[in-house]
């Protein structure tokens, strides 16, 4: 069998492995929904102000809430699989429409964060490993220690105090300047200016993490036999570092970047609510205040699926990066 068809089969197998996880998450979601006080009819009745018990009974029948739990679970599974995540009574919109509305903003924030964190993490880690135990290495280590211990929302608020309120370099919140109706290039510049502080805030922790991983990974690779061989061959240290060691050292960092996506989504809830960035995290924050459980569960479900998808993608990238990995 050729390698490409092997990879194809591997992707199929990994996709199948993702299915039970997704079903389990849907089931957890269903039970959380049932754990909460009151059902959709109570919410509706509360919104309407008054409802007779008979009317509520009728509504329950219509929504299928009088059915036994396993039947309800099956209906719920069917709904989720057809991308029907229920109805948000606060926004008077279907949950999936709301979520897809906000998805782009979160996607933008997460992409820029990953690029910044992985890119600079690799750079700083490389620097620390090459200047081992000098002041540069020590500064990077101390920076990582402090970043590990700082709460994300506090970093965001302090960024606002320093860079928005005192220095006035960047706007405090939002994604665009609401007063100005920018178009074309001006719009891009406006969004990028709004993007700077949230991105830095969200990426600091991961930057520290990847820096430390990259440093450790580089040091581990330097001790390998192939480095001795390369030296014996008479290659320059430069070439050994950039061509041989660096490429191998990157692998664990890539894996870690995939693993961290779930945590990144959690972090974006905090960062988006600090900077009023109009993405999924902000939506989750709003739904918390509005007690809009349907919406919150929808966001939770979607982000879990996102993690499953990203893990799959990272596994596939990994196959291409490292041909030694057995795909079957």
């Amino acid at each position: 069998m050729t390698r490409s068809s092997k990879i194809f089969r591997y992707v199929g197998k990994r996709l199948l492995q993702g299915v039970p996880i997704i079903i389990a998450i849907v089931v957890i979601n269903f039970f959380l929904l049932n754990l909460a006080e009151g059902d959709a009819v109570d919410v509706l009745a509360g919104e309407a102000g008054s409802a007779t018990p008979e009317y509520m009974e009728q509504l329950r029948k219509r929504f299928g809430l009088d059915q036994p739990l396993p039947v309800q679970l099956m209906v719920y599974l069917k709904n989720v699989l057809s991308l029907d995540l229920g109805y948000s009574f606060r926004h008077e919109m279907p949950v999936n429409a709301l979520i897809f509305d906000r998805f782009a903003a979160t996607g933008l924030l997460m992409t820029s964060t990953i690029i910044l964190a992985v890119g600079f993490g690799i750079l700083l880690g490389l620097l620390a490993a090459m200047r081992l135990n000098t002041w540069k290495d020590n500064i990077i280590t101390v920076f990582a220690l402090i970043t590990y211990a700082t709460p994300l929302f506090w970093v965001g608020l302090m960024m606002i105090v320093v860079f928005s309120l005192n220095l006035g370099w960047f706007p405090t919140s939002g994604m665009t300047n609401v007063a100005a109706f920018y178009e074309g290039w001006d719009y891009v510049v406006d969004v990028s200016r709004h993007l700077v502080l949230p991105t830095i805030t969200l990426s600091l922790f991961y930057l520290a993490l990847y820096t430390r991983m990259m440093r450790a990974s580089m040091l581990e690779q330097y001790g390998q036999d192939y480095v001795v061989t390369a030296r014996a061959k008479g290659l320059t240290e430069r070439r050994i570092t950039y061509v041989h060691v660096l490429r191998n050292a990157l692998l664990p960092v890539v894996t870690m970047a995939g693993v961290q996506v779930g945590a990144l989504i959690g972090g974006s809830v905090i960062v988006e609510s600090v900077f009023a960035w109009p993405g999924l995290g902000m939506l989750a924050f709003e739904s918390l205040f509005a007690r809009d459980l349907n919406l919150l569960l929808g966001i939770f479900l979607l982000s879990s699926m996102l993690v499953v998808a990203v893990n799959l993608i990272v596994d596939i990238i990994y196959c291409f990066l490292d041909p030694r990995i057995e795909v079957n």
């Binding site: 039970p20 996880i21 389990a24 998450i25 957890i28 959380l32 754990l35 909460a36 220690l145 402090i146 590990y148 211990a149 700082t150 709460p151 994300l152 929302f153 506090w154 608020l157 302090m158 606002i160 105090v161 309120l165 779930g262 945590a263 989504i265 959690g266 972090g267 809830v269 905090i270 609510s273 600090v274 989750a284 924050f285 918390l288 205040f289 007690r291 459980l293 919150l296 569960l297 966001i299 939770f300 982000s303 879990s304 993690v307 499953v308 893990n311």
Partner: protein, 277 residues
């Protein structure tokens, strides 16, 4: 014990962390001595800056004393951090021990469950759990424990897998000891050191999660906490930077100290375990 202390002492940063944590614990225990009033009570002019109007660290928009809030909030953070960690370590040991010891189908099914909990974005899951159970100390502890046990489970499973075929365990089987007794009395004590190290680092994470929840308005409404102070002060950021700043510094110092202790414990207890997540 003396040997342990000698090795721990060699890491000076860890000793520093230990001193800081002891000071914070003393601060939490003597909170009512220095600030006998309820931290939610109005103590004077609102939005006073640090060192003005008799406030050491200023007051917030309602005239509550920030310093009092920090001192009383220390209790909440430490308590939730420790209790949540203990609960999740217990869940993790339970899952990991059974999976590692029995292997086969038990291992498969328990690890599948662990994998699912590891895939779920943990902070959003914690938010959801607290929102559904209504915010209280109990629900926050449960939420943090539910999202943080999988790491312990994997660690314990690995240790049990490595230890279960050792000679001393086989000897126990020959003596006719029950599985449960072997797990609890023979294998578990042998893998306590990595559990202690991971547990100490989990306390730090738990404090961070708790502060994040409180910041989003999911703290126990009757109990002062650092995250709550920051969340309450954020709207006043422009006019009163101190309300948000000082509680954040408190979180930073506490979590940093615990992380340093964790690294010191790691050096002292098991030189094998180098990786920390």
């Amino acid at each position: 014990m003396a040997d342990f202390w000698r090795r721990y002492r060699r890491n000076r940063a860890a000793v520093f962390g230990l001193v800081v944590i002891i000071l914070i614990i003393i601060m939490a225990l003597t909170a009512s001595l220095f600030y006998p009033n309820d931290p939610f009570r109005l103590m004077g002019k609102p939005l006073s800056g640090p060192l003005t109007n008799g406030f050491l660290l200023g007051s917030d928009s309602l005239g509550r004393d920030v310093a009092s809030g920090i001192v009383h909030g220390a209790k909440t953070s430490l308590l939730i951090g420790f209790v949540a960690t203990i609960v999740s370590v217990f869940i993790g040991i339970f899952f990991g021990a059974f999976a590692g010891y029995f292997g086969g189908r038990v291992d498969d099914s328990l690890m599948r469950v662990t994998e699912i909990f590891q895939t779920i974005p943990s902070f959003i899951f914690a938010i959801l759990l607290v929102a559904i159970m209504k915010p209280s100390i109990g629900s926050i502890v449960i939420a943090i424990a539910v999202v943080s046990w999988p790491g312990v489970a994997r660690l314990v499973r690995g240790e049990f897998l490595a230890l279960k075929n050792r000679e001393f365990v086989q000897a126990c089987h020959t003596l006719g000891m029950s599985d449960f007794r072997i797990m609890l009395r023979e294998i578990l004590p042998n893998c306590l050191s990595p559990i202690i190290v991971v547990g100490s680092l989990m306390v730090a994470t738990a404090i961070l999660i708790e502060s994040g929840l409180a910041f989003l308005g999911l703290g126990d409404p009757n109990i002062m906490s650092w995250g709550f102070l920051i969340g309450a002060g954020r709207t006043m950021l422009r006019s009163a930077w101190w309300v948000c700043t000082f509680p954040g510094v408190a979180i930073l110092i506490t979590v940093l100290a615990i992380n340093l202790i964790g690294e010191g414990l790691n050096d002292a207890l098991n030189p094998r375990l180098k990786e920390r997540q």
